[in-house]
């Protein structure tokens, strides 16, 4: 669960990135966060990952009160979150398998569990044939699937996808969102930041629109996707 209570962020440059934001995303929700550049979307994500601290207000993420969270506990918070970035951020010197397994190694998971869990997650994103490939040998869409597998492998409570379709073919964008939807159906909360309105209109669901540091719109809309119920 993610909860913002009267959260404001003012950067040292004097820019007010968020202004008294109140927001609640319950466990199992799927929400699109939309807004123009500089609206405050990235600040929202940075707050959830505790990359930055709120100037005012309280941020609660997966049971952690981030205002009171010590630096040493940040890894524990981040282990409950899977992040997918626009630029994939895969380690180029590691194979697909190693990139995904890496997350489990970080949390000191048993070797036996890694050997069974990693191939399973790679197969979930349909890349079982590419497990030994390096990121540079994959297309943009495939790289984003690896990033998704990496975000998933630790069975996180929350997945944050920051413009996950920004660097891939529009046709493949729908596949990525479909994958995120299916992950959400298994109970994982998904927060997807995007500025692709076509995608949002197609899938529908909860839309959070941020404008000039405030929530301008937070409602559930119906999508045009015939498969969506």
């Amino acid at each position: 669960m993610v909860e913002f209570k009267d959260v404001s962020v003012t950067y040292s440059s004097g820019v007010d990135a968020l202004n008294k934001v109140n927001l609640k995303i319950n466990d199992g929700d799927f929400a699109f966060v939309v807004g123009s550049s500089g609206a405050g979307k990235s600040t929202l994500i940075k707050l959830i990952l505790k990359e930055i601290d709120a100037t005012e207000g309280t941020v609660l993420v997966n049971g952690f009160n981030l205002s009171k969270l010590r630096r040493g506990k940040v890894p524990a918070l981040r282990r409950t979150i899977g992040v997918v970035f626009q630029d994939f951020r895969l380690i180029p010197t590691m194979t697909v398998y190693e990139n995904v397994a890496f997350v489990l190694r970080v949390i000191d998971a048993p070797a036996k569990y890694i050997r069974s869990r990693v191939p399973y997650v790679i197969s979930l994103v349909g890349l079982q044939d590419k497990a030994k490939s390096y990121p540079t040998e994959l297309s943009g869409g495939e790289q984003q699937r690896v990033a998704l597998a990496r975000a998933l492998v630790n069975d996180p409570k929350l997945i944050i996808a920051d413009e996950p379709t920004g660097n891939i073919d529009p046709a493949l964008s729908y596949e990525i969102v479909d994958l995120l939807r299916s992950i959400n159906e298994c109970g994982t909360t998904v927060l997807m930041v995007t500025h692709e309105h076509d995608l949002v209109r197609y899938f529908g669901g909860r839309i959070i629109n941020i404008n000039k540091g405030s929530i301008a719109f937070d409602e559930v809309i119906g999508g045009s996707n015939p498969n969506e119920g």
Binding site: P75, R89, P110
Partner: protein
């Protein structure tokens, strides 16, 4: 931490040496040069010190004793001199031995001049060495005050010069070594920083997936340590090669250098263990600490 995780981290450290081979090679070269500069300076200092100590040991004072004091009094006098704190050794040198030795050193023509001389003009003496050459003047004065001592001839001026040389040399060498260590640390920290900077993206990803700072640092630590150990090995071989070369040059021309006490140089074999251990510890320490400190600069995400 599980054994499998520890093995993984060590493996990652080893792999990244090869993956980042250009940077690893740069670190290797820097650590090698640093160790060589500091190591050679230390070895030169140790040997210069030894040479000066050798010269000190060789500088004797002669205590001229009054004629015909008798064997008993001579022994008593020897005991009195030995009791003086700074005196290391005292040896009686009879006027007859002195005369014989002097004649041996003369050419035939010079010996002819003394052939008809009946009297031995030389005095009985004690030859003594001191523990601390800087106290030579003081010791000479103490001896001169003893009964039946005619005079003391000691190389006090030479001793003063030697002590000054030694002190100045120690100050200069300490300053040079300290400056070298500082320069080396700065260069190493910059090289490893460049190496770590090239992998900041990797560190950033590790942070986002919840890696602890220790987990991120360990492979860098191991990588730096291994590179440092290899550099230490290379530095050891180069030092051994260079040192033995210089040592042999001095050894092969003993006649000239032995005057200066250069035969006092330490053979490399005698210092091998100390040099090896020092190089390995310094190399591993510099590499490991330098790299993990630099990695720490990118951990604040």
């Amino acid at each position: 931490m599980k054994v499998s995780s520890a093995r993984y981290l060590v493996g990652q450290g080893m792999k990244s040496i090869w993956r980042n081979r250009m940077m690893s090679f740069a670190s290797f070269c820097i650590i090698l040069v640093s160790l060589l500069m500091v190591g050679v300076s230390v070895l030169v200092t140790i040997n210069l010190n030894r040479i000066i100590s050798g010269i000190e040991e060789q500088s004797e004072a002669s205590v001229i004793i009054k004629d015909d004091i008798g064997e008993q009094r001579r022994d008593e006098l020897k005991n009195e001199i030995e009791k003086i704190g700074n005196v290391a050794t005292v040896e009686f040198y009879s006027k007859d031995s002195a005369w014989e030795n002097m004649k041996k050193d003369m050419s035939d023509e010079q010996q002819d001049l003394f052939r008809y001389a009946d009297d031995n003009p030389l005095p009985d003496t004690f030859r003594l060495t001191v523990k601390d050459i800087s106290l030579m003047g003081e010791t000479s004065m103490q001896i001169e005050m003893l009964d039946d001592v005619d005079s003391v001839k000691s190389p006090t001026q030479f001793a003063d010069v030697l002590v000054s040389i030694k002190n100045i040399m120690m100050i200069i060498m300490t300053a040079v070594i300290a400056a070298l260590i500082v320069v080396c640390l700065i260069i190493i920290s910059n090289t490893t920083r460049a190496s770590v900077f090239a992998r900041r993206k990797e560190i950033n990803i590790m942070k986002y997936v919840g890696a602890t700072n220790t987990f991120i640092r360990i492979p860098f630590f191991i990588e730096g340590m291994v590179v440092g150990i290899f550099a230490a090995g290379a530095a050891l071989l180069l030092t051994k090669f260079a040192y033995e070369g210089v040592y042999n040059i001095f050894k092969n021309d003993m006649s000239l250098w032995s005057i200066l006490g250069v035969d006092n140089l330490y053979p490399f074999a005698k210092m091998f263990v100390k040099v090896t251990v020092s190089y390995l510890i310094a190399g591993a320490f510099i590499g490991a600490i330098g790299t993990s400190i630099s990695a720490g600069k990118h951990l604040k995400v």
